[in-house]
Symmetry: C2
Subunit: 295 residues, 2 copies
């Protein structure tokens, strides 16, 4: 029986080692910037995106060092987005994973710069020849990561989220928002392994379909945890969506239907992996984990 | 006689057209993000970095469309850095090029996201096959741009600048700060043309030496304008460095020696171009322009 919990923990450890190596401490006057970058990225997060990169890379026999570098880069993009989203001008959050957010621990200016530097570093890591010997692979990964992270993807989704606070959205609109805000980066994490492994189009399409359903299931569970979890369990302030009057899957569908929807999406995600052998078991187990998690 | 003023104007027009094409208006709910990105980048700036890209690319017979895309990408990075530097938590500036800064025109959250999206878009543009058919060229450019823009370059320089407000720096430290904060991106702009043109190492070294001196000359003149210019002439608040008690080349050397230093650096920059024919006249003229400018 595949043990997803310990597999996630092993992967998280390897990702932290990679991040630690990519963000060495310095004793320059500007060392505060590196400290903040490390604080924001060397965390006890679940590291779901890195796990997706490594698990999909394993399907195609990719050297694990290559996968870990890309995994670390995608996690840097995820972490930078959290640092900026937590800022007072944005979601104004003081707590993240049970610890003070970056601007609370340091200050706003340092948090803005640490986010900027993490995003920039991610592209540096992907473009570095150490990530893959074929420059076309590196260039393709940069392009895909940039598209997923930018105005048409993650940042666009965050803008939509801010605009949406003043509007009432329908399910289709919330789905679009979440597809951009969290789905795009999850999709690029799944696809990155296939790009590194120069996988066939059919395999990439299956992985993309998996990522699509997984991303939405993940977000619905996030919304459920915001309603049902306590701050101690979830590691950040809860009940914020309802307080802000934000349209979420839970506010639109109700908790019960939202829960059913997330389980259905997880099943569907697993079905897309049919073309893969038992090598895809980690991805299958992750889909279950995502809907069963309590934080 | 080479007319640098009209050459800069022609180049600025071409860069604006390229940026306009890369940032098309949308009618999505999140269109506000694109509006802010356009507001921050489609400006009446001098476009010195894009001019450097195109002028150095011309030395090696690079297709002008390729150079313009890279020029636009580097300008996006420059513009994002201005948007974030102007934020209340950073330099807290209300005026930029005679117009409200991005967060004044829109709001803080939108300005943070527009900066993030511009930075991300820059890497998307460079990695796109439309920028150069050779993926190694694209990947090298991404790597170089990321190194120049990140914690070891521009963002690190901005952090140093914030830290420095509480310390008194010496000339060597101000030089290092400015080399990171503004010099690194100017250097990558000069080098980008050489990378696009697959230039020999000797040519790249000459261009790098030129960029090095030009960048410092540029910054010294900026410091002089902050002291000597009026807000109307310069298009942004002046006298801010002295008010903040910031160590600058002018506060450390005095205006007269700083002026001499800038002229000496411009001469030196031109001397590094000796190996090039009259094809490098635009770069030579730019060195003069940078020290003669009044804003």
């Amino acid at each position: 029986m595949y043990d997803i919990t310990s597999a996630l923990a092993d992967n998280a450890r390897a990702v932290n080692e990679t991040l630690d190596g990519l963000l060495p401490m310095r004793d320059d006057p500007e060392a505060r910037l590196i400290e903040a970058m490390r604080y924001a990225s060397l965390t006890a997060g679940k590291r779901i995106r890195p796990f997706l990169v490594s698990s999909s890379a394993d399907l195609f026999g990719v050297t694990s060092e290559f996968a870990l570098r890309v995994a670390a880069a995608i996690e840097m993009v995820h972490c930078y987005s959290l640092v900026h989203d937590d800022l007072p001008a944005m979601d104004d959050d003081a707590l993240r994973r049970g610890l003070p957010t970056c601007h609370m621990k340091f200050d706003e200016a340092t948090a803005i710069l640490a986010g900027d530097a993490l995003l920039t570093k991610a592209f540096e890591v992907v473009a570095d020849p150490a990530t893959h010997p074929d420059p076309r692979v590196r260039s393709d990964l940069v392009l895909e990561l940039a598209c997923a992270a930018g105005a048409e993807g993650m940042v666009g989704g965050q803008m939509l989220d801010l605009v949406a606070e003043h509007n009432s959205l329908r399910v289709a609109e919330v789905t679009r928002l979440q597809r951009m805000k969290t789905g795009a980066l999850i999709a690029v994490a799944c696809d990155a392994g296939a790009v590194l492994g120069k996988a066939a189009d059919s395999a990439r399409q299956s992985l993309r379909a998996y990522a699509h359903d997984l991303g939405l299931a993940f977000q619905i569970v996030d919304d459920l945890l915001d309603v049902e979890g306590t701050s101690e369990e979830v590691g950040k302030a809860t009940g914020k969506d309802a307080e802000a009057g934000k349209a979420t899957f839970v506010s639109l569908l109700g908790a019960e239907r939202a829960r059913e929807q997330s389980l259905m999406l997880a099943d569907q995600a697993v079905q897309h992996l049919e073309i893969f052998s038992e090598k895809a078991d980690p991805l299958r187990a992750l889909a279950r984990f995502v809907v069963d998690r309590k934080h």
